[in-house]
Amino acid sequence: MSGDHHIDSETSQRVRDLEAALVDAGVLTGEEIDEALDRYLADRGVVTNGARLVARAWLDDEFRDRLLTDGNAACRELGLEWVGEEPVFKVVANLPDVHNVIVCTLCSCYPTGLLGPSPHWYRSVEYRARVVREPRSVLSEFGVDVPADTSIEVWDASADARYMVLPDRPAGSEDLTEDELVELITVRGLIGTALV
């Protein structure tokens, strides 16, 4: 681990040096960097925006249809705003016999402007390489065992579209309020490495 610490402190110095170079050259100010961080992290959580879309879709079939047809319009309908450029946003529905999982094999693109930064494992070369090739094996590493008669659709966000999974509504959730439903949903459910 001391090797990692050495790399970490070396990298930390490189980042300080390049920030200083950019600030000295008048390219950026420290405040602009702080603001950019705040913009992407504030109120974004890891799931809330996506969970709200899912919970509403579980409660309202017509909203669900609109969400699956035009994810961008559905975001506007709920007052959800993207930070930065808004991509084509496509939501894909899990069904009893279909399970979806999202990846970007080339670099780990993710709907960051809506959901915030991606989980660390999503960006790993292991995930990027293996989920398109052996999704069942990858999902079982996440504790998700997809039955043999459930088909798996893997979505590789290789261009200007960004994807999110609409999990299947869990059994036993029938009496929950919308806010309680929002609490059930995890970032892994939105990527497809959990059932919800």
């Binding site: 094999t105 590789d156 290789s158 579209a161």
Partner: protein, 92 residues
């Protein structure tokens, strides 16, 4: 041009990427055939943005069978591909 023939439902084959450009074609679909399931409209071609002369191209979502990509597997993989990477494939 043949690319005007590409639409939802088309079967298309994929030109392998030139890895020295900023190609957004993943190598694992190079020379493979899939079905166009969605049309995302036009978007700037990333390699053209990087080279400083941006051009817009149509972007499609193409679905491939794992068996065709890797020789095994019962899943499907959807990849988003720009029209210049695609050609209409003849029916098998």
């Amino acid at each position: 041009m043949e690319t005007h023939d590409i639409r939802i439902g088309s079967h298309v084959s994929v030109t392998p990427p030139n890895w020295t450009e900023h190609s957004r074609t993943p190598g694992y679909v190079g020379d493979r055939t899939g079905a166009v399931l969605d049309d995302y409209g036009t978007h700037p071609l990333p390699s053209s943005v990087v080279s400083g002369e941006p051009v817009d191209e149509r972007l499609f979502s193409v679905r491939f069978d794992a068996r065709d990509l890797f020789g095994d597997g019962d899943h499907s993989v959807h990849v988003d591909l720009y029209e210049s990477a695609l050609e209409v494939a003849h029916e098998r």
